[in-house]
Symmetry: C3
Subunit: 320 residues, 3 copies
């Protein structure tokens, strides 16, 4: 799936990125982030249309992509009912769907319940396909904005300690961003989760192969004083056994005021949002303490997705 060309033709997995591509995308994102302050609409993708096919609703991700496209001067056509014309209902293959839908626009953003769906679509599509989450697979634009946030908040992408906390078995976020972090030197990872919700073996093998240092812990409180980034993930009650859920809400796996005080100065709390019980901080702390980074992280979704869309869609004649 990885590609060596100077430019991406699609974006379905974190592993596609190398340091050069990351630098290109982040330079674009920096430029857009500055521009967003002046609230000027750009004309970079005038006349281009982005198609969003969401086979499950994810309003937040959809709105973020739509806002990115609209900010670049482009148009969006969306559906959150994609499964209504998909294999589930009428038996059409994903490949057929792509061959029809690619005629309506210049790129396709797809969210699907099945791992690998975006890759299948990218393999046949004439236009770039972007993975906005494929079941238990990846959510690579989330990973990209996470990395961008680390760079912004710490001022560097190497030599730091990060803890991933929560349901690491079912959550795809930690997974996607781990692939990215493996490209940088001196990143030490700690996985903090109840026993039944540990990081899966494939990611551990990947990290070993790429010589990324990682360890596992069962009490966040031991980890908090040492790390630069605490990456919390949402407890997805609907996907967990009741006992696991109860355990994951216990104080060794959450950030409440007591645990918050264990964090060192200069560290940051990240979260892909939405958050629930795993973070219990008063709104005043969230608004004033610089260590609360998750709303700035969410805001970074816009310039990062703008960067990706510009990268994929500007002057398509250039990359063949």
């Amino acid at each position: 799936m990885a590609q060596n060309s100077a430019r991406l033709k699609y974006f379905t997995a974190s592993q596609q990125l190398n340091k050069k591509l990351i630098a290109d995308l982040f330079a674009r994102a920096d430029r857009f982030k500055d521009g967003l302050k002046s609230k000027r609409r750009l004309n970079i993708l005038n006349g281009k249309t982005l198609i969003l096919l969401f086979y499950e609703p994810s309003t937040r991700t959809r709105l973020s992509f739509e806002a990115a496209m609209v900010n670049l001067g482009g148009n969006v056509l969306s559906t959150e009912n994609a499964k209504d014309f998909s294999s589930a209902v009428k038996g059409e293959t994903l490949e057929d769907t792509v061959r029809v839908v690619q005629e309506y626009g210049d790129a396709i953003v797809v969210r699907h319940t099945e791992e690998g769906a975006a890759d299948r679509m990218a393999a046949i599509s004439r236009v770039p396909v972007i993975n906005a989450g494929d079941g238990r697979g990846q959510h690579p634009t989330q990973a990209l904005l996470d990395l961008y946030t680390i760079k912004e908040e710490l001022g560097r992408m190497n030599d730091f300690k990060i803890a991933f906390v929560g349901d690491l078995t079912n959550g795809r976020t930690a997974r996607s961003v781990s692939y990215l972090l493996g490209k940088f030197d001196g990143v030490e990872m700690t996985f903090v989760s109840p026993h039944n919700l540990r990081m899966r073996d494939d990611i551990k093998e990947y990290l070993n192969k790429h010589k990324v240092s990682f360890s596992e812990e069962h009490d966040l409180r031991k980890v908090l004083p040492k790390v630069d980034i605490v990456y919390m993930t949402r407890l997805q009650k609907e996907r967990m056994a009741e006992a696991d859920f109860a355990l994951a809400k216990a104080s060794q796996f959450i950030i409440n005021m007591e645990n918050f005080k264990l964090l060192k100065q200069g560290s940051r709390i990240m979260h892909p949002l939405p958050k629930v019980d795993e973070i219990q901080l008063p709104i005043e702390i969230e608004q004033k303490d610089q260590r609360v980074a998750y709303f700035r992280q969410a805001a970074n979704g816009l310039p990062v997705r703008m960067a990706l869309l510009e990268h994929l869609l500007q002057d398509p004649g250039d990359y063949q």
Copy 2:
């Protein structure tokens, strides 16, 4: 909630408006109404984006806001699935949702099932929040277009008699517009409803406090010959006991041809639409008799919402 500044920062309740603001908004609406005839798109909000978060579907209201924004040259990003990423499903607070979504656009229109939801969002949002209906609370842009319609149809906003008819307990329309009418002199209100569906006490107290004259009646036929405006409201079968519903459909609470003849010349029938059994007039009467004002009323939603969006979004630097 009321504010005295020359310009609104958000719009969640009718009570925020004073006569000066109403005059400002209606002057803008007049200008847009003239412009709409020539069907020219304006460029007033070029490059601005309106976010619509609907926690319950209300296609009509949503389309009306979207059309208003598009007519001003702006963009819209919408969801009628907002509850899919809300507290209901994932446990996120409204405050968190706002802090994420405000990054995607320049204003947020919210429709929610809970009274007070729009106020909670406005309290934390960096961008203007507009209430498009919050449960049994308010629907203040409806109230505004109702008042605008009265001004257009009667040529004045004071010294007239108005009857509100139907389910006045559960309907928020009569409630919102009553607050507005309380600001003008010589408005006499009559509330006509079955005993179990009477106007609630809080609005009566408000009217008493503002010295607005009102009375209650139980037979519309006694009222029709005397009023300038008959404001009918929809019988919401789903929210009413069966006996109440049957009673509300009885001839003393509806407009059929027989009752229609009781109306005086120069009077007007209004209705926020959609209407059902409470108005039973042939289509020819609706098309020809000037007293049927409800489709003109619906059409006024567009210039009035354009006025509000321009007021809130143009040159935001001006009001701090």
Copy 3:
């Protein structure tokens, strides 16, 4: 319903078209098809808004209309929740809905579950109404793009043999396109379907009246070597008895590799898509064999719908 004016005021049925109108629309479509290659956005419908009211989801059709409008420089406002404010839920009539919604834009595209719904709306609307499928009624823009595809693929619209295959009782596609083909000389139709799924009598009467030659067959394999166009239709399992469905999937009613070999050179397979079991060809054949025309057919939906929108919406002052 037919109209003799030089220009359509609405488009709800194939029978509205005459040869002159078809020529006008196809000339426009040709122009757009050329233009689409250069991916330039046009400014023909700048400032116009298309409203899409879908009372049942049909994402593919909706996206196609939206893409057509956006490509012409116009705006779209859409709902796939239209039934949430319709008679089904709140008891509003279609006529009332039109009288409100027509204020929000310049044309209405409607998809409805009830035959005749689009005609009822067109009868009262101030703005053009386009039928995007009304239950078992028609889907006339599909018929138009089918005819356009025949012209493109065969180089002519007369003197050819066409077979319609599948569920001809419930499918509205063959029905709509048959009306159009009846206007041209030398078209020979064969209807191939299981006994219980035969073409209905009304269309046969229409064809007899217009002196169009047709016959019925029960084995596609006998027909394939003789026809220029095989028009396959989707087996709608949800609308068929189990025994009928099993029969319709039998080899005398489908295109698999074995049957495919029976097709003569220069012939074409069409299908309105989505397709399921009725076509079983490997992806390589679909990509390389010129006889597979259904993805080009789907792509023709865009220029044909652009042509229709331009025809209906450009300079509305011209036709009164």
